[in-house]
Symmetry: C2
Subunit: 408 residues, 2 copies
Amino acid sequence: MRKINTRDFHVATRTTSRDINRHIALNLIREHQPISRADLARRMNLTRGVVSVLVHELIAQDLIHEGATGEAARGRKPTFLHIRTHDRLVVAVDVRFTRTYLMLCDFSGRQLAIETYATVVSIPEFVKDLAARIRKLLKRQGPGFTCEGIGLVVPGMVDQRTGKILNAPALGWRDVDIRTKLAAATGLAVHIENSGRASALAQLWLARGEAIGEHNFVYISISDGVGTGVVVNGELLRGRDHIAGEFGHMPLNLDGPRCMCGNSGCWEAYTSNLATVSRYFGWNLSKDGPKRLEDAERSSFTVLDMISRARGGDAKAMAAVLTTGRFLGLGIATIINLVNPDCIYLAGEITTAWNLIEDTVREAMAERTLTEAATRTPIRVTSTQEYPRLRGAAALIAAPTFAAPRVA
Amino acid sequence: MRKINTRDFHVATRTTSRDINRHIALNLIREHQPISRADLARRMNLTRGVVSVLVHELIAQDLIHEGATGEAARGRKPTFLHIRTHDRLVVAVDVRFTRTYLMLCDFSGRQLAIETYATVVSIPEFVKDLAARIRKLLKRQGPGFTCEGIGLVVPGMVDQRTGKILNAPALGWRDVDIRTKLAAATGLAVHIENSGRASALAQLWLARGEAIGEHNFVYISISDGVGTGVVVNGELLRGRDHIAGEFGHMPLNLDGPRCMCGNSGCWEAYTSNLATVSRYFGWNLSKDGPKRLEDAERSSFTVLDMISRARGGDAKAMAAVLTTGRFLGLGIATIINLVNPDCIYLAGEITTAWNLIEDTVREAMAERTLTEAATRTPIRVTSTQEYPRLRGAAALIAAPTFAAPRVA
DNA sequence: GGAATATTGTTCGCAACTCAAACAATACCG
DNA sequence: CGGTATTGTTTGAGTTGCGAACAATATTCC
């Protein structure tokens, strides 16, 4: 039940039907490869004749290729179709508070090379240094590959359309335009996105195995900050100014602890790694406390350290972890009441303690969700090992190839 | 950049292009009537030949009709096209705490008859009574009209797919299925929806004049409760359990005042009419206060009374109104950070005091929105005179005719 | 008053698409 | 080696958008 936007619509031309069906075929091949033409025809409810033509066009566009012939119980053996990914490369960059991660991967998000180095905060030097590293990375990969672009994610607000970084407090970047500079220095297309939203894109476009297929979910990453991305009907919620989905800064208590964003009582101020550690050490996080927690900044004690202490029997550490779990649950419940997604993906260091906190999280959720069904919304913990941010950066470049054509 | 759902997609058939273009034409006629075929062709970037055929089909389907010939500076005069609405009727019902509103209107939401009566809480009696009233209403309208269905809205959570009312605390209804009963009693199609979400539908589908055209917005109705509806890409956000968009129950303070939903500190508990009046009288709304505010329930003093006292110079009344304005702004800011809509529609009694509270609302918004641009999100106050809830009920029936065909 | 011009709405040949059915290619099996 | 099942291609028919020509109708200019 979508209303047609009479100010921005897309009439169907004589090639529209084929565009649509070609894209559906492409996506089916992507998710079910290796797959034969006949199989494709069955899944699409089309005749093999039409599918043959679609496949021919996709091959001509170099988006797929024929592979080995498969086995059949009887009859002619099928020729398998595969997505062409291995020689289409993407550079993914994740700029974080202390370190920057640089990955080279193919169109399916498969990692080919990865490196990490201390974040360069000065913009001109950052661009110069990054461009040099990318050149070296691509050179080392050798010929026979095409690099389709650079995806870059930062912890902050980004106007994805213009590529402008509006505000990244952790890096001290405000209103900087890295995109044109980096594009000029490398000659490649550059897309920039907020790291939480990018992770959601990774989950949507590059998920593997059983994680595939959700089209309405909220991705929540609990780390230095709390990053979130909302996916509705298979589309990332971006909003008017391309800043939608900042669930980290919804209030749990208007007079609560001070938050990085300048406000107080944000969900992030209750559940970020800093908040959890601070709770353990009894640092002053209150609204009227000191502006910067110098204790915390100087400390090298991480949430992971704290979790292992909790597992070791440290009651204070356990209490701090459980309190974070409780606030996590209260926040998740609010998100469920607002978006009512099919599922919630949870990432971040705290999820390594999931077996410790799950019950507490669920209890807190039950407390504030408005219906019984909503309480049972699945929560899927995702591994941080797979670099969701970097895969999200890659998705920025890879996704447009597979996206549904705009119609009506 | 929508991902194609490989588990639920729609391949294009040979009639798909035409379906799409016919629907676009229908919507353009709806929003620009009276309009000629030639004008339509220009707007759609199609040839007049194709448009002629599309129009012919729409006339054959009895969705539009030809009208008078218009004036042209020179050349052949155009024949105007109109949407056929006047003889397609909808029954709209709004069930509220004390009174039920019943309206008969046409497909454009134009009011033909309206009546109101004390709400019958007993389900069997409610259905019997309502069915009789509807029969009478349709009989009085006379022949030559077709009633396309009944739209019913309630203050509570509704599973719109099954038509089940999950929980309407104001009416004391839990898990009741009115739809099949009412459909059986009247022989008409029945759709049920939450009143806040329905109002958003009315804004999307039945707006007139300059209010037309927004496709990404949040509708907020401040009344006995706080109802909201979120529209993204011209589609109402419904969610897994069809309960999305309950912004009224996001917390401003986990330990704040008691809310009707059983939790405490919900936005509604700060901004509903009851909250505003209670603030004036100094009633105990705290988390640990009495379960039911019997003072309030017995009182006939309304927010409107209070606003007129504030205008009359009552400082205490003014203070209470402004405090509500402040909490309104804080909640709206949160909504903007989450959804980042193109605009926000605000309805309810408190908006009659908009000129008193606007500055306060804007200040509070600026306090918590995360970017400068977000602070400037337009807020449009909508008139309660036009029965947004009833129009929303009508939209439930009328919208499917005009909705975009599902494709890809 | 009549030719030139402008605009609306229809018609027609053409290219592109889906669709059903026939067809060729290829395998297995008794 | 013939029967059968399956894959992939081809072919003709029906539907669509597209461009251009066409008829109908009005105004303007000479």
